[in-house]
Every structure is written in structure tokens, then in C-alpha cells.
Amino acid sequence: EAGVVQSPRYKIIEKKQPVAFWCNPISGHNTLYWYRQNLGQGPELLIRYENEEAVDDSQLPKDRFSAERLKGVDSTLKIQPAELGDSAVYLCASSLDSQREGQGNEQFFGPGTRLTVL
């Protein structure tokens, strides 16, 4: 079974430029998460989707960040314009059903996209 796929793996951009990250979750997983991991820290949730609906985006800086999950499958996370402080690893994760007890709500992570803003 294929895992969570993310692209690109690395991205280097100049500040004020736009950038987009793509995530393909595990087939059949209803819940999708975007986390940001700053250097030397643990990941922090940016947004969570239940199918197509964004149900927790309280940590998403909405002035420059946007996300979408069309048809409840793939998702894109966009930053426009990027700032120096946005340099981080952006991790996507998915789970079968976040409302299910036990292993059904286990989150599986992708390899992440390392963003460097110059």
C-alpha cells in the first residue's frame, strides 16, 4: 500500500514569491492534516480536513496561507507571499477516520517538503 505522497521534497524561493505544496493521502483516508515543523522543534498543526471540509484551521496564518482539498482526496497548501520565517518542513499526514477509536485514527505522515526562503 502506497503511503502519503508529497511533492516537491525540496523548494528554495526568494522572499515575496509564491509557493505551493501538494499532498496525496493514503487511499481511503478521510482525514488530512498539514503540519509545519520549524528547525529543531516538533511539528505544529496548520489545518485539518475531514473529507473536503476544513474543520480546524485556527493555526493557519490566513493572511498569506491558503489550503484546499478538492474532492476530498489530494490537497494543496499555498503561501503567498512567502516570508523568511516560513522556512520550515511542511508535513502532510492522513488518517482513516479521526472519529474512530483505536488504530483507525492513527496518523500516517509523508516525507515532507523542506522550504527555504532566501
Binding site: G40, Q41, G42, L91, A93, R114
Partner: protein
Amino acid sequence: AQTVTQSQPEMSVQEAETVTLSCTYDTSESDYYLFWYKQPPSRQMILVIRQEAYKQQNATENRFSVNFQKAAKSFSLKISDSQLGDAAMYFCAYRRGIIQGAQKLVFGQGTRLTINP
């Protein structure tokens, strides 16, 4: 808000020996899950072990086991017979129970584990 603290930024152990990584957390909830994730240089988070708060028995997965002290809000990871492939960043994480509705993982700062051959 829930917080997770890992007080050991780095740890090292000789190959084949045992090492324990520490984690404490703060919550007022009674229903929650605790996890240890491993993050190798490839960056992919890999679940090592999970513990449901309502279970008194400590979770074990092969060479990995936890010491879950609910009253003390402590959740340490013991790695027995350490192998070179265990070298990675290890993150302790907390998640509220299903009833509370919030499904995000709250991570600690991580512990970098080095295995000496």
C-alpha cells in the same frame, strides 16, 4: 492547552544497550492518547508506539516499551538492545480523546538519539 515537554535534547547509547527517553505532559483531560514517533534524516515520521490513557498496562512493541505514569503525567520510552537503525529524532506526542473532538497531535521538542557502535 495541552503541552508536551522533552527535557533531553540529545541522548547517546552504545549499540546493544538500553536507553530511556523522557517525556512529561500537561493536561486536564482524562481521555487521551500518547505516542512516540521516530523521525530519521529522511524526515518521515514513523509511529513507534502508542498508549491509551485508560489502559493501565504499559504498551510494548518488540524492543520498545513505555513507562506510563498517569498521575505523574510521565511517559518515557525504553529502547532495549539498541541498534544503529534506531538513531533518529524521537518525538513524544499527545492527542485528546475522540469525545473531546480535537484530533491534532501536540508534539514535544524532540530528543536526538545517537547510537555508538
